[in-house]
């Protein structure tokens, strides 16, 4: 029993009970004190993923009419889709994730996206990362605003394994961005690392000394907790790619128990205008990297997946119809995936709008039936445990996020 819980018992829980408001409060406080940190790992697929070939609507006749050369064959055919529910199937290179689906740990939402119709990567990424579609003046990202809302106390609560702090993580709350734990260290190439560190502890410059203290503390904690070379658990085999390496670093930090709550990684190369291929080729290569990476990450995290959610996203989908170059142009609605113990998995969520011309957005793209902010809102509340009253701060300008049931309650 934790001391927090004991304090509540001692300090007159019975009295509070009689006032009629104690039980919820008590259990919440006690649970918070007991809970290991819940973890969200956000994966951004930059360049606009072709969701229609990742999560194939093989039950939709129009799909094959629109994509005669790049369409993924029906399940059961040569190199066909991996059947999920009789209507949707994975691209064959996504097969490593099928066991997670079978275990009910993987859910997808199709026809998900932005209420803004922009087909500019630049604007759409901006809108997704700020979670304020159509509003460009937002300075901070939604994951940073989550950290602000919970009054995060250490930058180790939010780590992006990227060179620059991604827009999603920018903002007032202290976060860390580095390409790997080993890079987040003051090198002693000139023998002056110690002297530099000392100069920050002596300075009267409170802004710089506070940040430096934060940096040295986080560095010290991380270095101690991640000492030695990292060995992935349970035979996890990460692809030897930038994405694979980033995921491995996230697992390493998560397992170091330094308080990580929100992690971010990105995957690039999804902008397949030309020769995207079908079961093989450019897109297949990207999906292979994605699926093998996520498979390795879930294996490596092992039972930590019980309180982890991996969320994949991309700025918009691609046109329903293939273009004249064996590729796809910028589209609208797209597929997102959620993986983890808390996920209501084994299901494709969201309303499927169909691919007939009149069902398409501007008669060319998969329509959007689920606002991506609904997904974000559910993840921060139902999974990370933020209070719903904090939502207007985390996702401003979005009055009523719709509950989706993608996270178990």
């Amino acid at each position: 029993m934790t001391s927090t819980r004991r304090v509540f018992m001692k300090s007159g829980a019975a009295a509070m009970l009689s006032l009629g408001f104690a039980p919820g409060f008590l259990t919440r406080a006690a649970a918070a004190a007991d809970a290991r940190k819940r973890l969200l790992i956000a994966v951004f697929q930059r360049g606009a993923l072709d969701g229609l070939n990742m999560l194939v609507p093989f039950g939709e006749a129009d799909y094959y009419r629109l994509r005669p050369s790049i369409g993924i064959a029906r399940p059961g055919r040569d190199n066909g889709a991996v059947d999920l529910d009789g209507f949707f199937g994975f691209h064959p290179r996504m097969a490593p994730l099928k066991p997670l689906w079978d275990k009910g740990m993987l859910a997808a939402i199709h026809a998900c996206g932005s209420p803004d119709s922009t087909r500019s990567h630049f604007d759409a990424q901006d809108y997704m990362e700020s979670a304020t579609p159509g509003v460009k003046s937002t300075r901070d990202g939604w994951l940073n605003r989550y950290l602000q809302a919970i009054n995060s106390t250490t930058p180790l609560q939010g780590v992006a394994v990227t060179r620059q702090t991604p827009r999603t993580m920018q903002g007032r709350a202290a976060t860390l961005a580095f390409p790997g734990v080993d890079e987040f260290a003051v090198r002693d190439t000139m023998g002056s690392a110690r002297a530099i560190e000392d100069s920050y502890s002596r300075t009267t410059d409170s802004l710089l000394s506070a940040s430096a203290r934060e940096a040295f503390q986080a560095m010290g904690v991380l270095q101690k907790a991640t000492a030695g070379s990292y060995q992935p658990a349970n035979g996890a085999d990460y692809p030897r790619t930038p994405f694979g390496r980033a995921l491995q670093e996230i697992a390493r930090i998560a397992k170091a128990d330094v308080g990580l709550e929100v992690a971010f990684a990105e995957s690039t190369g999804w902008d397949t205008h030309v020769n995207q291929g079908s079961d093989n080729g450019q897109l297949a290569g990207r999906l292979d990297d994605l699926a093998r990476g996520l498979d390795a990450l879930t294996r490596d995290l092992g039972d930590r997946m019980a309180d982890t959610v991996i969320l994949t996203m991309s700025e918009f989908g691609r046109a329903a119809s293939e273009n004249g170059n064996g590729g796809t142009d910028h589209g609208h609605g797209n597929a997102m995936m959620l993986i983890g113990g808390p996920v209501n998995g084994g299901r494709v969520h969201g309303k499927w709008p169909g691919l007939a011309p009149e069902q398409r957005f501007e008669s060319r793209d998969l329509a959007v039936t689920t606002d991506f902010r609904d997904v974000f809102a559910e993840v921060v509340t139902a999974h990370l445990g933020a209070d719903r009253s904090a939502l207007p701060k985390i996702i401003p300008g979005y009055a009523k996020p719709r509950p989706l049931g993608i996270i178990k309650t």
């Binding site: 630049f122 901006d126 930058p155 860390l176 000139m190 920050y200």
Partner: protein
């Protein structure tokens, strides 16, 4: 020497240099003031700079910096990295993109070399300031193809000129037209008219299938795009609290319909130096069309109806002059004077600059019809400027350039070798995505990860003794 003596010498020297009008009154002479000026108006002192500036007198030095044409910068020229020549035409999109990437890399290297070695330090500071004010992002589509041209021809020539000229140069630059989508913006009805006309022409010429898919982007040219109109008011001129409405944004966007980029006929043989257009000929422009470099005004796409912008009526029937009138209106709006004065004071004085100074600089802007040299002079010769020592945190570029200058060492390679350091500190050049540009306040640049990067970079570029001071807290400020 008497005060009058100094003043007389300054005036004589100034007259020789560039017709100086800068009085020495109010400009301190002590070593700290000189260091401060070098930290703010230049990218930090090089060894010996403080003494040199003291020798010539700080007010003289400032005056020379305000008139950079009189400063010999030939040593810099020899150091500038080679810039790739833009080919007359690109074989395909891939080649265009490759060239764009090379060009941005070379320009980034050039920017670092200029910051470290140019004698015209204030000009480099201001080019950086104005590029950031009118930010474009090299990562958005074709923008990178035009960025070098944008900095050289739209920004640099105007940093000591009139704001109105700078504004128009950016408004007509392909980089800005592309980045903020105005090249796609059209009167919806006009876009339909154009399509009809194209189909008629195709039928007349017997071209098969006039409805063939158009290149990407063109199929989207079917309506009004507010992107540029919004940022013009919010970021470039009046400022977010400048008192405009959503209706103003739409009216401004309507005025700029038809401001676009001359189409590049990728298959046409085009001689270098010949303006864009089919098969090497000057394109046959429609009546009312205007072409300046790659900027084109296309009357067909223009909404020529009446517009009301910030209370000013723009009469129906106009063409390119509609947009030009909008530029007149916004460049001379009092909110613009205030917004620009504030930003310059924030850059040179402090994150939250004194109101009295901003008001004086704004008044100077209004009184001189936006003479940027005069506005900058008002700020950098003020008491507020000299009493703000150490108030700013260096941006990564300022940190890197001032560290290189402080070491007095020769830069390794041609500048490219330092670009990675800027990326590690979160300021990759020409790669700031939002139109707001990089923020210029301490809270943006002071973070745990960024400080660690600075400590490591200090040790990479300086010897053991200097690494400690360059990596330390005092050096992060200016």
């Amino acid at each position: 020497m008497t005060h009058r003596g100094i003043l007389a010498r300054t005036l004589v020297l100034g007259a020789v240099l560039a017709g100086s009008t800068l009085g020495a009154a109010g400009i301190p002479k002590d070593k700290e003031a000189v260091e401060h000026a070098l930290n703010r108006l230049a990218y930090g002192p090089k060894p010996g700079d403080v003494e040199r500036v003291q020798e010539m007198g700080l007010s003289n030095w400032i005056d020379r910096q305000l008139h950079p044409d009189g400063i010999d910068d030939s040593a810099l020229k020899a150091r500038l990295p080679e810039q790739p020549e833009r080919p007359a035409q690109f074989a395909d999109q891939m080649e265009a993109r490759r060239w764009g990437r090379q060009s941005v890399q070379a320009l980034s290297a050039e920017k670092v070399v200029r910051a470290v070695y140019s004698e015209r330090q204030l000009e480099e500071q201001l080019v950086d300031f104005w590029f950031n004010h009118f930010n474009v992002f090299a990562g958005k589509g074709r923008t990178s193809e035009w960025i070098a041209d944008y900095e050289r021809h739209a920004i640099r020539p105007h940093v000591f000129g009139k704001f109105r000229d700078l504004l128009e140069a950016t408004a007509k630059s392909p980089a800005m037209l592309f980045y903020l989508d105005n090249w796609l913006s059209a009167d919806p009805a006009a876009a339909e008219r154009q399509q009809e006309l194209q189909q008629q022409r195709a039928a007349r010429l017997g071209v098969a299938n006039p409805n063939r898919p158009q290149p990407q982007g063109q199929q989207r040219r079917r309506g009004l795009n507010e992107n540029y109109g919004r940022e013009l008011l919010e970021l470039h001129t009046l400022g977010v609290d400048g008192g405009y409405t959503q209706k103003d944004i739409i009216e401004v966007a309507r005025a700029f319909t038809g401001w676009t980029i001359a189409p590049q006929n990728q298959k046409a043989a085009r001689q270098p130096g010949v303006p864009f257009g089919a098969r090497g000929r000057r394109p046959q422009l429609a009546p009312g069309a205007v072409q300046e470099g790659e900027f084109r005004f296309t009357p067909m796409l223009h909404d020529s109806g009446e517009k009301i912008v910030l209370g000013h009526k723009i009469k129906a029937g106009g063409g390119i002059e509609d947009g030009e009138q909008v530029l007149d209106i916004v460049a001379r709006h009092p909110a613009t004077a205030h917004h620009i004065a504030f930003e310059l004071a924030q850059r040179f004085v402090s994150d939250e600059p004194p109101k009295a100074l901003v008001d004086r600089a704004a008044k100077k802007f209004r009184d001189t019809d936006g003479d940027l040299r005069e506005v900058v002079k008002t700020i950098i010769t003020s008491d507020e400027f000299f009493s703000a020592r150490g108030a700013k945190v260096k941006t990564p570029l300022e940190f890197l350039a001032s560290a290189m200058r402080a070491t007095g060492r020769d830069m390794p390679g041609d500048g490219r070798q330092l670009l990675n350091a800027l990326m590690q500190m979160g300021m990759p050049l020409y790669m700031c995505q939002p139109p707001t540009g990089y923020d210029d306040t301490a809270e943006t640049w002071v973070s745990a990860g960024a400080l660690v990067a600075r400590m490591n970079i200090a040790q990479r570029i300086a010897g053991p003794q200097q690494a400690t001071s360059i990596g330390g807290p005092e050096f992060q400020r200016r």
